[in-house]
């Protein structure tokens, strides 16, 4: 395996990338679950090659109000890793972690848009933002360390950068990095969560094209 050609990826390569998502997100999910002491499941990872105009739609629509924590990756793998949740879900998660107001989304309120909007409008405190950053740190660490031991590549991540805004606006940042090298973005996307408790979110691993080649080569492909 020499060069990865985005348009000519074979099934084997897709399978391997999906498995990387599986292992990475599996570890991250376990770390998250232990941290908030709540059951977290994950769905089968999706490996998607997207046109830029499709990118902003992946996390529930371009205007969806989400929390995004972004890490830039370094050493053997370049690119970005992003952790995204709907803002209401991140509110719920921070409450679980800090042990406050655990009933922010109780049974009756689940379908009540007003309540969701109220939660959306409420600003996070410094303490809550710092807790969310720490959640981001720990799960990105878990994801990347499993990827690193699988591939024997050295992978470091930056400090977490956080934004709470429209999903499309947040996703424009990794999309622009991809835009410098091509007309499509390849990402490994894993949805995780406690789906009964509206706690779901996404891990996105977005390596550069060269780094995909590095990953596949390290695995003997």
């Amino acid at each position: 395996m020499s060069e990865l050609n985005l348009n000519g990826m074979d099934n084997m390569q897709y399978d391997v990338l999906r498995e990387i998502g599986n292992i990475g997100a599996g570890n991250a999910t376990t770390a998250l679950s232990q941290m908030i002491n709540s059951k977290i499941d994950m769905k089968v990872p999706k490996v998607e090659l997207l046109e830029f105009r499709e990118v902003s739609e992946i996390v529930g629509g371009a205007e969806n109000n989400v929390l995004g924590i972004l890490f830039t990756l370094g050493v053997d793998i370049d690119g970005m890793m992003m952790f995204m949740m709907e803002k209401s879900a991140s509110r719920h998660m921070v409450n679980l972690l800090l042990g406050e107001g655990q009933d922010t989304l109780d049974e009756d309120d689940k379908d009540n848009n007003n309540t969701k909007k109220e939660i959306d409008d409420k600003e996070f405190t410094e303490m809550e933002l710092s807790a969310l950053n720490e959640i981001g740190n720990i799960i990105a660490g878990a994801y990347l360390s499993s990827l690193s031991s699988l591939t024997n590549l050295t992978i470091t991540s930056s400090i977490p950068y956080m934004a709470i805004d429209m999903a499309g606006a947040i996703l424009s940042v990794p999309a622009i990095e991809f835009g410098k090298i091509g007309d499509k973005a390849l990402m490994i996307e894993t949805e995780f969560g406690n789906f009964e408790k509206a706690l779901n979110g996404y891990f996105l691993l977005i390596p550069t094209l060269d780094s995909y080649t590095a990953i596949l080569t390290s695995l003997g492909l």
């Binding site: 990118v55 409008d121 950068y161 934004a163 805004d165 499309g168 996703l171 424009s172 940042v173 007309d183």
Partner: protein, 161 residues
């Protein structure tokens, strides 16, 4: 029935009144509206990067401020817009994350806005209004009927330019 035509990232579209144009969740990208107030024809491009000459893979013209504007003018004159009538309104170019160690990535929003203005100036297209920079995302809608650009952001009042 009037339609609301969606424009994605690195994409563009044109319309004639009563239709309207929108792009959702603009971040560091810039939404460039060109408008012929006489014919009530509008075009909207959603560009991601400032300069096509700095990038090897530049097949998609709408990805860049420079080639995106040229192509958009071409698309608009094709459906009857007058080149001399064109005016512009622009929005976007936010800095979504405050990267502490990567200046180039941090300034991409600003550079997109600068490149857009430079290109419009060189083509002598007047910028009637702009809502750019800052650190938040924007959804924009443009109505050729009124010539107004509507801008929505999370937790902010709608702006009309």
């Amino acid at each position: 029935m009037s339609k609301m035509i969606k424009v994605g990232m690195a994409d563009a579209n044109v319309c004639i009144t009563p239709d309207a144009l929108t792009t959702l969740g603009l971040g560091s990208c810039v939404g460039i509206v060109l408008y012929d107030p006489v014919k009530k024809i509008a075009g909207l491009a959603h560009i991601m990067l400032p300069d096509s000459t700095k990038i090897i893979n530049n097949a998609n013209k709408y990805k860049f401020a420079d080639t995106g504007i040229d192509k958009l003018i071409e698309d608009m004159t094709k459906i009857g817009a007058g080149r001399a009538n064109l005016v512009a309104k622009i929005a976007g170019g936010a800095q979504m994350f405050s990267f502490s160690n990567n200046l180039e990535m941090m300034r991409i929003g600003d550079r997109n806005v600068e490149a857009t203005k430079e290109k419009l100036n060189s083509l002598r297209i007047k910028i009637l209004a702009e809502d750019t920079g800052e650190n938040y995302g924007r959804t924009i809608e443009f109505y050729p009927e009124t010539g107004k650009l509507h801008i929505r952001s999370v937790g902010k009042e709608q702006k009309i330019l």
